[in-house]
Subunit: 237 residues, 2 copies
Amino acid sequence: MTDAADQGWLRTVAHEVRSFDRSSTAERVAELLRARVIEGDLPPGTRLSEEQLVEVLHVSRNTLREAFRLLTHEGLLVHRLHRGVFVPELDEDDLVDLYRARRAIECGVVARLEGTDAVRLRPLHDAVAAAEDAARRGDWPAVGTANMRFHLALVALGRSRRLDETAARLFAELRLLFHTVDAPRPLHEPYVQRNRALLDLLAAGETVRAAEELDAYLYDSETQLRTVHRDSPRRNP
Amino acid sequence: MTDAADQGWLRTVAHEVRSFDRSSTAERVAELLRARVIEGDLPPGTRLSEEQLVEVLHVSRNTLREAFRLLTHEGLLVHRLHRGVFVPELDEDDLVDLYRARRAIECGVVARLEGTDAVRLRPLHDAVAAAEDAARRGDWPAVGTANMRFHLALVALGRSRRLDETAARLFAELRLLFHTVDAPRPLHEPYVQRNRALLDLLAAGETVRAAEELDAYLYDSETQLRTVHRDSPRRNP
DNA sequence: CCTAGGGAGTTGTTCAACAATCCGACAAGG
DNA sequence: CCTTGTCGGATTGTTGAACAACTCCCTAGG
């Protein structure tokens, strides 16, 4: 039985190998740019010059454009014909659209959840703990990141890879909106407690009440973000 | 100078002809391939050779690859590094994944629906009517298409562009699964009535009951598809 | 002040060549 | 017979260059 001809083993290795070589140049460039956009280094409305980036990144124009396309499909860049690619400027309509989508998905997952054992709730627990820790340190951007991780973990309870990917895309876009406001604290602080409360409800198996609380949660969050975003001073007026 | 031996001339005309409609070349190529994949002309596992398609379609490799990328994003093709693009072969895990995703989204939308006026239900009505019509004609593939349109319209009630796109992608993948079975009738016929019933519930404003019915609906559909798919003879064993 | 047009600069598209990688075949060894 | 190693053909990944097409700004003329 030293012959390791078991079943699940190969699967794991195969997956590891596959994700290891998954690094075409275009994808690596895309990852670089994605981080810059998500971190907010590039303010919305910025044009990404092909010429400039080709010079800096040492890749060909075709490859760079391939990376652009990848990010465009993810909604992290917008493509305007003959004008180039830009960091999108999301408006209130986009905000509403995004919240409708996440409300349907998140509430949909939570509402018909069967079985909330401690193991599967573990990622949620970690995310809440990270948020609380960051809040104590006063690192509000980190709180925002941890809160997003919480909601990603929430969607992950639905155990669908495709749903996870969709949620990741939505949250990436949402992050663009967060960057347009100057004061991150009131945007993230109140939701740390609420995430904790949500987690407690789930741990108690009260999925219906959790879904209701989540619904109210998202409503409050959306409303707040709308007012803040409306009043926020545009960086490039 | 009447002798048109110039170079750029033909090029220009060709370009004009190609871009007569406002879509880019890549999008038109993508549409061509999409139809082939959706219609099931290309069985799962087929590799789409760049060389071959460049020859046939008279487009550059870059353009073709852009089309590939569009379809990959839609889930209609899979891209394997250094191996090319393939029509995906979905297995039972994918089926489960897809149904988990659509269950969360569709039920999520229906459950927290506010206001079901007749105008917004119109697309649902049309889809059901089309399905019933196709059923009368015995055109079962058309019934399947109409049923999908119904569910897309259902998601559209959530009034989120991003949610619509996600649903479209999921249903496109689902269609690939339908093609692996030989007898389309029992797969689509029972659901025409159930869609009608679902629509009636929505028209009556009974969103909660509609969500429950939809949940059961999807459970039955998934179960049936799983057994059928398990028993279906592989085309390329 | 307003409009037409011209030019500079940028993106859109294609092509050909080279590098990196995969696949099947075939041979050597247990 | 089965496994392992290696080779060569075929395919994809990436690059750089070339030219077409478009946008934007600036200027001349009204």
